[in-house]
Amino acid sequence: MGDAVFALDGLAGRTGVTFGSADRSGTHRLAAFEELLHRHLRSIHRVAYRLAGNADDAEDLVQEALVEAFRAFDRYQPGTYFDRWVYRIMTRTHIDRVRRRGRRPETSLDAPVGPSGDALVTLIGDTRDDPQQLTEVADLDGPIQAALDRLPEEFKTAVVLADVEGLSYDEIAAAVGCPVGTVRSRLHRGREMLRHALRPHLVRRSRE
């Protein structure tokens, strides 16, 4: 059904998107956007998942970022990387969401609830402050994601875009809107923090 949704107006399957300003409205605009999205949604969701740290927040982030991207679609340059362009919007959206959450603590719907109805765990991620948590998670994805979630957002974004998505320094600089030297510094500091947080796993993995 997903494919059917994107196959609007016979646009799906084209290799390039060429549309005039007159077409950039209504159904044609939506179809052109969704044609690009069809090809890049998986990588967009992957980045969102690694930034947000869980499936629910990742979906919220994807939706919010895509609505923002759709509103700004007139500024997208056809022929350039659509996913990189969405990353730029999504990283900003993510940081805004984190800041909003910082001002107004959110309660996880899945959190255990006490006898009085209060959530026992009120802040998403606050159980991860215990380093012991990192070694107790059986799945390797768990500790890595937990360590990523504990990084400052700017460092996490740089690491995810470089090491999960394989973007170059220049591409990351363009995506997050900072100089290349800042990307280099953020990557260094983010990786160092991850290296220390995940050292037991890294040592064990190196011996294998």
Binding site: G2, S25, L30, E34, R42, R46
Partner: protein, 161 residues
């Protein structure tokens, strides 16, 4: 040579060092066990990050995104003609200036008109009467006229053929 190169290892991993730093880091890694260990850990970390499993796409995500975008499309025309101005900063600035001028300019002009002392209207009739009295004994074509005509015709800018 003995100075640790930990702060260069991340860029070294990405092949992003300049020639001088590259040479220094490689020479140091051959002799420093601590930095060599740190570098191997960074390599392993990068492999682990690259090998992270693909997160499962939530079922129905495509449809939910489509629904939200469609709702956004339907909502867009309701923003009306003002959206045309909103996306073009020069028009927005011009519109703001015109509005400001209208709001501030009209009352200012009205107040100024009320408060400023008005000039006495020119009494044309009195002026003409006085002129006639004074020029009774002086004909209209006075002695300056022939002089002016003569000198005018002899100006170099308008030579006679």
């Amino acid at each position: 040579m003995n100075e640790h190169v930990t702060d260069r290892l991340s860029a070294y991993l990405d092949g992003a060092l300049n020639a001088g730093d590259l040479e220094r880091v490689e020479a140091h890694l051959e002799v420093c066990g601590s930095c060599g260990r740190a570098y191997r850990e960074l390599q392993t970390l990068q492999q682990m990050l690259r090998g992270l499993p693909e997160p499962a796409m939530p079922e129905g995500l495509t449809e939910r995104v489509h629904w939200r975008l469609q709702r956004e499309t339907a909502r867009a025309p309701r923003r009306g003609a003002l959206a045309w101005f909103a996306v073009r900063p020069p028009f927005r600035i011009a519109l703001a200036c015109a509005t400001l001028l209208l709001i501030l300019g009209l009352p200012t002009a009205w107040i100024a008109d009320r408060l400023m002392p008005r000039e006495t209207p020119l009494d044309t009739d009195a002026y003409v009467r006085e002129y006639l009295v004074l020029s009774v004994d002086r004909p209209l074509g006075d002695e300056a006229a022939p002089t002016f005509v003569t000198s005018d015709t002899s100006t170099p800018e308008s030579p006679r053929p």
